[in-house]
């Protein structure tokens, strides 16, 4: 009897151990990167940037996860004005997204957004460019002009000169360091840390993770003043073998609407918003720049008014308006229709509004 009970006890132990192991495995899977930091030879920011500029890989396939926690209220994007482009841009900025990336050569690349049961992709294969949306069942096509050379910069510079110039330019507003190497997608990475010097900035730090072997950037985090990761993009898996050419071959499936893109109808990203006659003015520079759009007489539509009226009222020498304050971005909409927005504290926004 005691023998069987002993055996049963042992079995219980095994079982509990197996359960604990399974739970630990999942935890490990979910929180990869919680292991001890790798010891890498120290590099100065300039050295690290030089290696990034010189990075040369045959190709890569990677999956990136994007997470955003801007502290924005969850807006019903469908009710937003200004059509699909704006609401899809807002949808991209909020929530979590998974992106698959393939690169085989400078002119062979594919990026696919794989959320839920839809897929949107941008593919470049030689001179052919395709944009695909499984949700809209739409393909857009463009042919790049092979004779067009990338516009040469006014003064040709060597990469190291360019890096020095870049570092010199951001030096007055930003502290640049390398520190706290860690792991991304199971690979040791260097971290380039940009810290804004101005206290009014809501950005506490920007950390860029760079693979320690290939010097390909594998992730970036924007850390807000309250310590949360406001935006983070990081690879969850990466493979530096050259993907097969099939990946970049795209032929629109039958029954799908194909739109030819010409220079006049460039992809929507570069398009200027319609009806925006007056340019916004920018106050301040660097991290604490505040953009103020001029007063508009146009009445905002009903839904937008409802959203605005739910925001707290603020007033000062500059006037009276509504304040939208998030972890990373502050915006004030004044009663005369001006919109001031910046990654700064509300006080800095009020100061910029009063400057006028």
């Amino acid at each position: 009897m005691t023998a069987t009970r002993g055996a049963a006890g042992r079995r219980t132990l095994w079982l509990v151990a197996a359960g604990a192991l399974a739970a630990a495995g999942i935890t490990g899977l979910m929180a990869r990167g919680a292991v001890a930091d790798p010891t890498l030879p120290p590099l100065t920011p300039a050295e690290l940037l030089a290696k990034v500029a010189a990075a040369d890989v045959d190709g890569m396939s990677a999956t990136f996860e994007q997470r955003s926690d801007l502290g924005l209220p969850t807006l019903p994007t469908s009710s937003l004005p200004d059509g699909e482009d704006l609401s899809s841009a807002i949808a991209l900025l909020t929530g979590n997204h998974t992106v698959r990336v393939w690169v085989a050569a400078p002119d062979k690349a594919k990026v696919a957004l794989v959320d839920g049961s839809t897929e949107s992709a941008a593919i470049r294969n030689g001179n052919e460019v395709w944009l695909w949306s499984s949700e809209k069942q739409q393909a857009k096509h463009a042919t790049l002009d092979p004779s067009a050379k990338p516009t040469p910069t006014a003064t040709p510079m060597s990469p190291s000169e360019a890096i020095t110039k870049f570092l010199d330019e951001i030096e007055p507003t930003t502290e640049v360091t390398t520190s706290g190497s860690g792991y991304v997608a199971g690979r040791a990475v260097y971290q380039l840390v940009l810290t804004p010097k101005d206290d009014a900035s809501l950005v506490a730090q920007v950390r860029v993770s760079v693979d320690a072997q290939t010097f390909v950037p594998l992730g970036a985090r924007v850390i807000a003043d309250d310590g949360t990761d406001a935006i983070s993009v990081a690879a969850t898996s990466v493979d530096f073998t050259r993907p097969s050419d099939d990946v970049f071959a795209f032929a629109p499936p039958p029954g799908v609407e194909v739109t030819e893109m010409t220079k006049d109808s460039a992809p929507s990203g570069t398009e200027k918003p319609k009806g925006d006659a007056k340019e916004p003015t920018v106050h301040g520079t660097g991290w604490t720049a505040v953009a103020i759009s001029p007063a508009s007489t146009e009445k905002p539509d009903k839904e937008l008014t409802t959203i605005l009226e739910s925001l707290p009222e603020v007033s000062g020498s500059w006037g009276h308006g509504r304040l939208l304050s998030t972890a990373l971005v502050t915006a004030v909409v004044t009663d005369d229709g001006r919109v001031a927005i910046g990654a700064v504290t509300p006080e800095r926004i009020y100061a910029a509004l009063a400057e006028r």
């Binding site: 079982l15 359960g19 794989v114 839920g116 809209k136 499936p253 799908v256």
Partner: protein, 286 residues
Amino acid sequence: MSAPEASVAVRQRRGSFGRLFVSELQLVFGRRRNQVGLVVLLGLVTMLGVALKVSQLRHPGARGGDIISAVAGNGIFLGFAGLTIEIALFLPLAVSVLAGDAIAGEANLGTLRYLLTSPVSRVRLLAVKACALGVGSLVGALVVALGGVLVGTALFGAGPLITLSGSRIGIGDGLLRLLLAVLYVTVGLAALGMIGLFVSTLTEQPIAATVATAMVSTLLWILDAVPQLDWLHPWLLVDRWSAFIDLLRDPIFTDRMVTGLWVDLAYGVVFFGAAWLRFRNKNITS
């Protein structure tokens, strides 16, 4: 005990395990309510196909981009669409019914104590029940997928499939991917079956065990749909159940499914373990 004798004993024990497993399967698939359940699963996917056909006849040309709309162009997609629709409620419900019967049902009928007189240990008996739940999950998912393909092909015809990435794959490749989807769904349902098996050891009322298991799966789905709880989502059993749709990408996207299988495995191991801890010393009075 000499070596040959021992091996005979082992073989006998294995044989009894196999016999018990076969008789368990006969019992599960012989039950009229389970047969009706399979017909209901098939009926739902048929209904979906007919509804899509009617809407196609009434609004020809209108086509969305989701998997359900894709059925109108290719009947094979009805297999995937059927899984997508039924994984939310009907397949988990079917597994809950099987799990409720597994232990609580036998206890309720008074047959559990006779079952314990068979020459297998309690852990093996529980393993037989767990394996039968796995087979039940597989058959449920297969009926939905294959039924969907047959009904879809009859209504809409079949042809090369267009993946979510916009590429085309042959019918054979498409059916293979559907089979992989069925296996993936089976693992998830079997993990829910282990939760059900554990609940089933807690009570002698099969209805209570079934309702509790179905409620667990529904609760998990609801939690998974609340955006404010997104930190919790990766830990929920059902969170990646729909990831089989990634099989329809080109190349196939495995990351989410692999994580999903680990989550399923962890739930399965933990709840099978809990069921065993409970069943091991349980007093079988009826």
